[in-house]
């Protein structure tokens, strides 16, 4: 709570949304809907469900905007964390078994991160992230992609990749640390 809502426009919008400002909420939606919907679609892999989850995410952002604390991370990170958690909850509750089969089938056709490359359009950010993923070891990249885009737990990833779950935990950590350094993320 220490810092005033300062330079980050999303932070300012969230502060207004927390006070019930519907116009600010519309602007927030305009600015982050594509990021939220894209991530949710990537995780749940079903357009109708992705729309439902995206709707849940924005209702939650509206409802809990007052709980955003800039000292604990950026507004964008808070929003994307909410979207990712909702998407992961959705796939873990419902589609688990079906998706596992699906993924096992696809893994034979190539590395999961190739899908990322396929789906992303040419933009600096996307290219930047792709290069970051490229710079990881195979195991780091697979762990990060399966966890973040696939919504799998470290145990499931261990099973899929045939490595101990302790290895998956450490690869997730050092993979994300390497990405952080590549992307120049500060906090």
């Amino acid at each position: 709570m220490g810092r005033p809502a300062g330079h980050d426009p999303l932070e300012r919008l969230l502060a207004l949304v927390a006070r019930g400002d519907e116009q600010a909420f519309a602007e927030l939606y305009r600015q982050v809907a594509a990021a939220v919907f894209g991530l949710v679609t990537r995780v749940v892999r079903n357009p109708a469900q992705a729309e439902e989850v995206t709707q849940e995410v924005f209702v939650e952002l509206w409802r809990t905007a007052s709980r955003f604390d800039p000292d604990r991370g950026s507004a964008r990170s808070w929003i994307m964390t909410c979207a990712h958690r909702r998407a992961v909850d959705r796939v873990r509750s419902a589609e688990r078994a079906a998706r596992r089969d699906d993924l096992a089938g696809r893994r034979d056709q190539g590395r999961p991160y190739d899908e990322v490359v396929e789906q992303v359009e040419a933009s600096l950010e996307r290219e930047h992230v792709r290069r970051g993923l490229d710079a990881l070891t195979d195991l780091q990249r697979e762990a990060v992609v399966l966890a973040y885009y696939g919504g799998y737990t470290h145990r499931e990833i261990a099973e899929l990749l045939g490595v101990p779950s302790g290895t998956v935990k450490t690869r997730l950590r050092d993979g994300l640390i390497r990405l952080r350094d590549h992307l120049g993320v500060g906090a």
Partner: protein, 251 residues
């Protein structure tokens, strides 16, 4: 803390821990500033991965979001601030008592009502595993329907209000009340949907006061009135008392 816990920052940031592991790690986070800092950074990093797969949602989604948001109450500000308010109010209430006047601190009551509202809405928003006929899903479907419409009426003798959210598309309606006094002992609130052929029972409101949300039983087209009476426990077939409140959906 064990070295093992420190290695969970990445799995935590990527939501790759199971429920139990997540809770254990969150306890650790509260006591380990180094891990908390690393989690902040890796969460920011993960957000960048998310933004890299952005895709424009269909335009109609905004209409649905807006409709549901209009019917969704927001959480009160953080606990720390609420607690300071409460202390101030408690002080004022005590001062009032000493002065010989007894009254409920209004902010305290409002804060409590907000909290109840937040909890009930949170319960409604919990996982919706798909289209189903469960009341909680139907409530969410009505509140999220693109054509959802709200009609509000004041409850007598206080700041409370009754709200009906109706969707013609869903042919369903949701009743919400805030600041509802508890029903007298051995009595219950009962809802009625009233059309030209008269009132039909639409469910009991089993609340000890505060805020309630429930789906109205049966189909609702949006041209009826919704009434609430006090009936004996278990409910009645026909209303036996004057309504506490009437919400006219056509108004």
């Amino acid at each position: 803390m064990t070295a093992d816990l420190h290695t969970l920052t990445g799995a935590y940031a990527a939501h790759a821990l199971s429920g139990g592991e997540r809770l254990a790690f969150e306890r650790h986070l509260a006591a380990c500033p180094a891990c908390a800092q690393e989690v902040r950074e890796l969460t920011e990093t993960a957000a960048r991965l998310g933004a890299a797969v952005a895709a424009r949602p269909p335009a109609v989604l905004w209409e649905r979001v807006r409709a549901e948001v209009v019917a969704t109450r927001q959480l009160a500000p953080v606990a720390g601030r609420a607690e300071r308010h409460r202390r101030v109010e408690r002080g004022r209430a005590l001062a009032g008592l000493r002065g010989g006047r007894r009254r409920l601190p209004p902010l305290l009551a409002a804060a409590a009502a907000l909290l109840v509202a937040a909890v009930s809405v949170a319960a409604l928003n919990l996982g919706l595993p798909g289209r189903s006929e469960r009341p909680v899903d139907l409530v969410a479907a009505v509140l999220g329907a693109p054509d959802a419409r709200r009609v509000v009426a004041a409850l007598p003798g206080g700041p409370g209000q009754a709200t009906v959210v109706v969707s013609r598309q869903q042919r369903r309606a949701v009743f919400q009340a805030s600041g509802l006094a508890p029903a007298p002992a051995d009595r219950t609130y009962q809802l009625w949907v009233v059309d030209r052929s008269g009132p039909r029972p639409a469910g009991l409101v089993e609340a000890g006061g505060g805020r309630v949300t429930r789906l109205l039983d049966g189909r609702v087209t949006g041209t009826e009135q919704v009434a609430m009476t006090v009936e004996r426990r278990g409910g009645a077939k026909r209303p036996t008392s004057e309504p506490v409140v009437v919400v006219d959906l056509e108004a």
